[in-house]
Amino acid sequence: MPQHDLLVEAATVAENLALLDSSAPFLEPPAARRSRVRRIAGTFAMDLGEPDAPVADLPVGTRQRIEIAGALAADPGILILDEPTAVLSPDETASLFASLRRRADSGHAVVLITHRLTEVFEAADRLTLLSRGKTVKSCLVSQTTAGEIGGLLLGAAEKAEGETERRTEDLRLGGGRPAAAEKGLQVLSVESVVPAGTSAPPASFSLEEGDLLVLLAIDGNGADTLARCVAGLHPFSGRIGILGRPLPAAGAPRAFRAAGGRFVPADRRAEGLVAPLSLEENLALPTPPGRLFLDRAAMARLAGERLRQHGIRAESPASAAATLSGGNQQKLVLARELDDRFGPPRLMVAIHPTRGLDLSAAAAVRDRIEETRRAGTAVLVASSDPEEAGLLGGTHRVVYRGALSDPLPPETSLPALGRRMAGLES
């Protein structure tokens, strides 16, 4: 998402383009800078806004265009574009690809990083598919099809073709545990919610006790953001209600918790745990035992119990949370979140809960989630891994560019899922 654009917000369009132009002269009057803007806008047929407008006031799409135009204007031998079309309109995308084609034809190299397969097959000559850091396939675009790439995008496809076919057949959705069958109390209602700072279409869904909903999306398509809105960590417009209590639109993690919500973040080191504090202290938060002074004995008992219950291996409860392995850290987060000293968890929101974990830790985490679901907690998971989703079970919806699909039928195959996540089908 272009919230991370490389522009100076407080400066004008003209100043930003001057900054991006490595051949700019030492001294340049404002008039020359303005004419640069007009020249570049003309060359690449892009609307870059008024030269003297502060970039901060411009919409996200214009800012993205300015960044791209600045890169193009520098006339580089090799141009690398990382998800350039995220906020471009179809016309602008076509215009951009026309410029890129001209560059390529005149002998310059262009590398496009994207997960939109339509773009790859429209614009590129060769493709290289990376999955989990490894090259899965590298070939000319003319030698493959969108379907094949869509399937490869998601599976581990290092084995021979025959084996690959068998694996994708095994991993159908719903291959985990069945979701709750009876209708229960509505725990979460999401109505026409648009996360702030995005142009996603409004999302609506609801969860009842014991429901498990997995939002499947390739990173950057908005599943994480939606989940964070529900957890009160991202402002939104629309209505989110937990057990009937509306969540403040500006984001309120404490209101989320007060309503019985629990959150397992994607980044356990930055948001899940307070790394320098001890295991005991982490487990005791946010409501440590004691009145004024910490009841250290109770904390020690609690820590001992939780470490045992969740199979967390650590040197001692007093060691810092930072010293645990990734799997144990995630177990610690769950141990803290599933704490029922002050009432059972009613809603759990988890983002990429088993990412980066070894098989046994991942299984342990999934078991916990299933356990709490059976006890009546509604569970919302955001994930980019169909395997993880398949093993978790429940209902699956794909999120593409912020738009929620309908619940997917349980017999959806992996390649079909890949195409949905890549936006090739809807």
């Binding site: 993690p253 918790r257 790394a275 202290e281 946010p286």
Partner: protein, 339 residues
């Protein structure tokens, strides 16, 4: 000892050794011998009852300011406004003290409470600006320090002025209200043990109370604290106000125990020295207190140094500054929370 702890110990040793070398160099430049200088420093700080008393008297406000700095640092906030908060505390004590000629205990309680409250109140605008306007607290508190210095200047020539005195100062506290020395011939009063107790108390607060744990969490990882459901902004604000109250109290004790009145200029940048002590002490209450005592000893010893050997007393300011620079050079960015 773990590798990291061993590295820190070696570093600490190297810095200590470097300090001695530097001190010796300064002494030699001033034309004295390191031997005499050391004798004067030690003699002037701990060599006699009077010297020790001098050290402990100076240590009182340093220990409190250092403890205040630690409290804020553990919450992830750098309270650079300690000096201004100290001054406002002193001003409050100088204003309230003379009102109670008759009831000494009530007077002391009132003026010390007023001093702590004045310090905390003086930090409130910075908290507001930070929460409501996103203004970095370091900016607003630096500006407030300027305002505090000016306020002192105005107060001793205006509302608090002692008409009977020949240079601008506030009306003095009566002898009954002022804290009495613990022993004849020394300036040390009950203020020193009180300061030690409060510093220890702040350490206990941080490590053993619920609020302390929450503050440490908010300082160590504001993002995690927020996601876990802690009210991290109020926690930081509370720590900053508490830290300011410590500085204000230090100012009040300086008036009540040492000077008996406010004058201009007051205090010699003790707020900044307190921050330096907190840094050197590794942002723990114990280490900060030890560093503060060391600075106080250096200050007391340096007047004897100047008197006996001619080496300027300014070494007591140079050494802490260079020590902190050395620590900063080696320790990279100081993270909030656990050090």
């Amino acid at each position: 000892m773990t590798g990291a702890a061993r590295r820190r110990a070696i570093l600490g040793g190297a810095i200590a050794a470097g300090t001695l070398v530097l001190l010796a160099a300064l002494v030699l430049v001033a034309g004295a011998s390191p031997g005499e200088a050391l004798a004067a420093l030690v003699g002037g700080s701990v060599g006699s009852g009077a010297a020790l008393g001098e050290t402990l008297t100076r240590a009182t406000s340093l220990v409190l300011c250092a403890a205040g700095a630690v409290l804020a640092l553990r919450a992830g906030v750098l309270n650079i406004g300690l000096d201004g908060q100290f001054l406002m505390g002193a001003a409050a004590a100088a204003a309230v003290g003379p009102l109670f000629d008759a009831a000494p205990y009530a007077a002391r309680l009132a003026l010390l409470l007023a001093a702590a409250a004045a310090g905390a109140l003086f930090a409130a605008p910075a908290v507001w600006l930070s929460e409501r306007r996103g203004v970095p607290p370091v900016l607003s508190t630096i500006l407030l320090n300027l305002v505090a210095a000016a306020a002192v200047t105005w107060l001793v020539r205006g509302p608090l002025q002692d008409r009977a005195a020949d240079y601008p100062q506030s009306r003095p506290l009566s002898a009954e209200v002022r804290l009495r020395p613990l022993a004849p011939g020394v300036r040390t009063t009950a203020a020193f043990p009180v300061a030690l107790l409060l510093a220890a108390g702040s350490g206990v607060f941080l490590s053993r109370t619920k609020a302390g744990l929450k503050i440490r969490a908010a300082g160590a990882s504001p993002a995690a604290a927020r996601a876990i459901g802690l009210a991290d902004a109020p926690l930081r604000a509370g720590a900053l106000l508490g830290s300011a109250a410590f500085a204000g109290l230090a100012g009040g004790l300086e008036v009540a125990a040492v000077t008996g009145r406010l004058f201009d200029p007051f205090g010699t940048g003790v707020g900044y020295l307190g921050i330096a002590a907190a840094l050197l002490g590794g942002t723990g209450a114990g280490g900060a207190t030890a560093a503060a005592l060391f600075f106080a000893a250096l200050g007391a010893g340096s007047s004897a140094l100047q008197r006996d050997t001619g080496v300027p007393a300014a070494v007591a300011t140079i050494v802490p500054g260079l020590l902190v620079l050395a620590v900063l050079l080696v320790r990279r960015r100081l993270s909030g929370g656990e050090a």
